[in-house]
Amino acid sequence: MTTTPPRRPTAADSELLGFAQQAELAARDLYLAAVAAGSGGEQTPSIAALAAHHDAASQSISALIGRDAPQSRLDSVFDAFENAFSGATEDLALAAHELENTLVTTHLSLLETLEGTDGVALVSSVIVAEARHVSAMAALAGLSPVDDTDAFLVTPATIVALSPEN
């Protein structure tokens, strides 16, 4: 028999959502680094907006789990992408494309585990936004929606979800 799930995050949910917040803060800091380096070219305002998107996601997670929110970025993610985000526009766009696909995959994996529906609702809304980021970054990279359609629409098989263990 299926039981009605709780609304509020459980203790295990808070741990997972805290991890998600760290990933969001790493993304925010990467886009801020790109803005500082001028990597976005003519689309620098869009890059600044993406930093704000990830900051908003982080803040919403913080509001949901309160003191359990770590408020610190995932350094392994930041370090892995930092150079590309500070390089040429195409390098930034392709790295951001990979990062956003990774975040979408990570958040999708959380949906199988989270118990509380408030957390599921928040993560679902972040997935929609970050899936759109993927397509935006494909466009910024100069890819064609007609000739490179999968880059806009499909997560590559090589993308692996982040997890607290790796």
């Binding site: 199988e112 899936a131 759109r132 397509s135 466009a139 629409l153």
Partner: protein
């Protein structure tokens, strides 16, 4: 206009009650013990319509069929050509795959798949929108605008339904489709508004990065979160007043779900 005061209402009510009591007293045959005027049919019972995982999956499938209908109609009418037609053809194939996936999930969950367009969305959004497009000065541009709105709506629908699903495995499967719908919308946004991929509306960012003027209709990324608001789309010819018709698309909710009892109608 005639106003009925509380005093007159009480007087009139008393008169009706007295007449009713008289008729009841004169009536013959078996009595239920309750005074009654005339014969009234028993009210029809409302169907039992719980919103289950099966209902949500069936509704998702029906929405996929709405999208399939739109892309097929646009192709039949020849509204799109070149790259736009190629992109629409890919989106159509994706929606066919999504419809099959949600139908299979419905059956796996113990239900019967709903393999036709959502009737309410078809009548209040799709058919009027296609009617407007048929009269538009630039039907191709309007089809792309409608597609952008429909894809945004589809992503929003999966986003709304995911926390309502009780089976956690279904949540991931549903949102895995929803995020693809969001990418459809974003891809169209990047084509329709390539100069500004991400909107600054509602964001706390430095003034130099904010857009000037009103927000436009299309962005690859319009907001920090997936929307649950109505999705507006402006379509059709310019009217006598100089304006065009705006249709607000809303996610299918309680009055437009593909409930299982609909199969018996």
């Amino acid at each position: 206009m005639q106003h009925l005061s509380r005093r007159r209402f009480l007087v009139a009510g008393g008169a009706s009650l007295s007449l009713g009591a008289l008729l009841a007293a004169c009536g013959g045959g078996e009595s239920s013990g309750i005074a009654r005027i005339g014969l009234a049919p028993d009210p029809a019972e409302l169907p039992d319509a719980p919103v289950t995982d099966i209902t949500l999956l069936r509704t998702a499938t029906s929405l996929e069929y709405n999208a399939i209908f739109v892309y097929e109609a646009a192709a039949s009418a020849g509204y799109l050509s070149g790259d736009a037609a190629k992109l629409a053809s890919r989106f159509l194939a994706d929606h066919e795959a999504h419809a099959q996936a949600t139908a299979e999930l419905t059956v796996s969950a113990g239900g019967k798949a709903f393999k036709e367009p959502n009737p309410r969305l078809q009548s209040i959004y799709v058919e009027p929108a296609l009617g407007l497009i048929a009269e538009a000065d630039d039907p191709g541009a309007d089809v792309l605008a409608l597609a952008y709105a429909l894809e945004t709506l589809a992503g929003a629908t999966y986003q709304m339904y995911t926390p309502m699903l009780l089976d956690k495995e279904l949540r991931r499967a549903a949102m895995g489709i929803g995020e693809q719908e969001a990418r459809h919308a974003a891809t169209l946004g990047s084509v329709l508004n390539p100069s500004r991929l991400v909107s600054s509306q509602g964001l706390s960012i430095a003034a130099e990065y904010r857009e000037e003027g009103d927000p436009v209709a299309f962005y690859a990324s319009p907001s920090a979160f997936g929307t649950q608001s109505p999705v507006p789309v402006t379509l059709g010819p310019v009217g006598e007043g100089g304006g065009r018709t705006t249709v607000n698309l809303e996610t299918p909710y309680l009055n437009s779900m593909a409930y299982e009892y609909l199969d018996g109608e």
